[in-house]
Symmetry: C2
Subunit: 209 residues, 2 copies
């Protein structure tokens, strides 16, 4: 467990591979990022960090809105291509089929199984990075990825959605099969922690009372 | 590709499983989140969203600093337990071995292969969610996860680091083996896009001049 200090380096993994969409100069553009995550569920929030030089950033700043498009692995060729060139250089909208939802200026990718329309509700600018906090206005999902009985359908797991993962070694990989449900592997340990607390706060129990 | 609208729902996947650490009332505490991502590499930034009711949030707000601890799959039992109980309820510091690095008030987890010490450099508060932007002060990594020749060592891939992934179906899974290097799958498509642009902007080329 001994560690080396390697300086001020940002390492977080796995990185989700998502395409951030925005209307730039009246044209849809998409940008490949790994700098995106959930930021809230009950109040539906997502956060994304975009470099100020990304062509897409220009659109987000103007429209105060963006889309999060989550590709599946079968889109790897187009997704990887999208990450290699800038919309400043070529028209990337031909890589995907664009459609629009509730918000007229938020382009969405038809080929992605899950897409989110977001409006910007918060922002931090730091060292050429714009961190945008987006509130989800509408989520769109392919029906085959909603599973469970009618009326109680939920979003499918990673094995079905087959997202693209990205590592610090600049390589893409798939998600493996599910191993355990949340709350299961640690259940016994939680019981032990709680019992320890009870024996501390209620000494009577420890003496059989 | 036809999609259903499912309302204002935040869905981003895969979620990285990380433990956010902070000193709360003088004691280390760790909080399991999936709401964390890279926010910059050249300038090393990470972003995390914490609910205001998390015990750890209290420490981050007081100390203006936090740690990002990335567990490997063999820590699943303790990691899952950490996500089931609050530091308000039990002392979770016993789940892991704590050490300190450059910053005296940022607890780090010895069992995690990668840990980052961060200071808060930006913040958004929205709907009970604190989005903290952290600048990495120091990264620590187990030496066995630095690969490559001396002097040019880089961080290992997902298959070696074996992080815990989390899906929208509340299940944990592993990362699979690497499939392709960034820049490879889309190379041909990029060449096609560029050629199309050239034939548009330099019509002479198309006529053999």
């Amino acid at each position: 467990m001994a560690k080396l200090k390697i300086g001020a380096k940002a390492i977080v993994y796995p990185n989700p591979v998502v395409l951030i969409g925005a209307q730039v100069d009246g044209r849809p553009n998409y940008c490949l990022v790994g700098d995106c995550a959930l930021a809230g569920v009950r109040w539906p929030l997502v956060m994304v960090s975009l470099h100020e030089e990304h062509w897409t950033t220009r659109g987000v700043l103007t429209e105060r809105a963006f889309s999060v498009n989550i590709p599946s692995f079968d889109l790897l060729e187009a997704v990887d291509a999208c990450g290699q060139v800038s919309g400043r250089e070529v028209d990337k909208s031909s890589l995907f089929t664009t459609f629009y939802g509730e918000m007229e200026t938020v382009p969405l990718i038809a080929e992605c199984p899950v897409v989110l329309e977001c409006r910007v509700v918060g922002e931090i600018l730091r060292e050429k990075r714009h961190v945008f906090l987006g509130e989800v206005v509408q989520a769109h999902i392919e029906e085959r990825f909603l599973v469970g009985p009618p009326g109680r359908r939920v979003v499918a797991g990673l094995a079905e959605l087959d997202p693209i993962l990205y590592g610090s070694d600049d390589r893409y990989c798939r998600a493996g099969d599910p191993v355990a449900a949340s709350g299961t592997p640690g259940a016994k340990l939680v019981a032990t922690l709680r019992a320890r607390r009870e024996s501390l706060t209620d000494p009577g129990r420890g003496r059989g009372s």
